[in-house]
Point group: C2
Chain length 207, copies 2
Amino acid sequence: MSKASSNVVWHHATVTRERRERRTGHKTAILWFTGLSGAGKSTLAHAVEEALYARGCNTFVLDGDNVRHGLCGDLGFSEEDRQENIRRIGEAAKLFLEAGVIVLTAFISPFRRDRRAVRNLVMHGDFLEVYCKAPIEVCEERDVKGLYKKARAGLIKDFTGISSPYEDPVNPELIVNTGTDSLETCADQVIKMLEERGILSAPKVSN
Amino acid sequence: MSKASSNVVWHHATVTRERRERRTGHKTAILWFTGLSGAGKSTLAHAVEEALYARGCNTFVLDGDNVRHGLCGDLGFSEEDRQENIRRIGEAAKLFLEAGVIVLTAFISPFRRDRRAVRNLVMHGDFLEVYCKAPIEVCEERDVKGLYKKARAGLIKDFTGISSPYEDPVNPELIVNTGTDSLETCADQVIKMLEERGILSAPKVSN
């Protein structure tokens, strides 16, 4: 543009993450829910989002519903594609972080290497790994999507927990026992962690 | 989770785009800035973002700075890769739309087919194409990143406007003359369009 072009070489973002955080009154983070299929990752992520939203936070959940057929719609379930799937989700989550949004991701993400790669994408403290721990027997009994049945019948290959490994988080920021504890208990534990880490301040009334 | 699992099959998002829009007091949209390298897309997008932010809007800019080395870091500049680049940016923009954020994208996006594909990803009215129109002579004279010089020297192949076509938008929602008008004029035109389309209501004081 004529006026600006003489001395503006590159117009950097003026609306920074820090400005957004000051305005919303909360810090941002990636809440990375990991665990077996049926462990309750997505259910928990949405329950936590509802609680955060009620406190006036900017939030967003990335899960299979809005990612698998969109951003990662070209990917299958090979090891390479699963790795690329997690990489893209991590990069998308990083964008939300910059946008001042607490982003909650709900994907099995079975491999330590892939989760570590996302952790390394962002600053220390930005990536909070929440291990949704539930015995596979419980997940398989729930089998809300009928996937375990299909996997047992050999109709799905490389199914985590059946024919492909799930690598437990080594030092997750939080472990929630989604196999035994109630949704409310698990959600409260996540919120408490966010308060303790200074992501959230004391509860305030939503506008 | 034990209590929930008996009757909750799949926990859908309760924090919807509509709820977010009601709370922020503005609708969301994808503002898709397209035009030649040096036309001022990113500068304009950031200026518009600053104006929107000052009005209390939730905003985010996707541009080469935060996408090229991240979400699309595995992609080159072949026709296939450029197409995939725009596809992923469109999908990421769609996620921000759902998150209640007015998302501004600043990419050359030279091909009608690719821009149309993004338009078709979202609902009618969600995709607002802003053609940043500037003569190539002006863009080449600015050459803020020295890319035209390199392209003329044959160091960059498939460079839009030099060795690869730029396909003008057919029916963009807005044309701004970034080659002749000031940054302020162009930004005002974008804001005016958002008001006319009901994305923004009357100006309100930022909190």
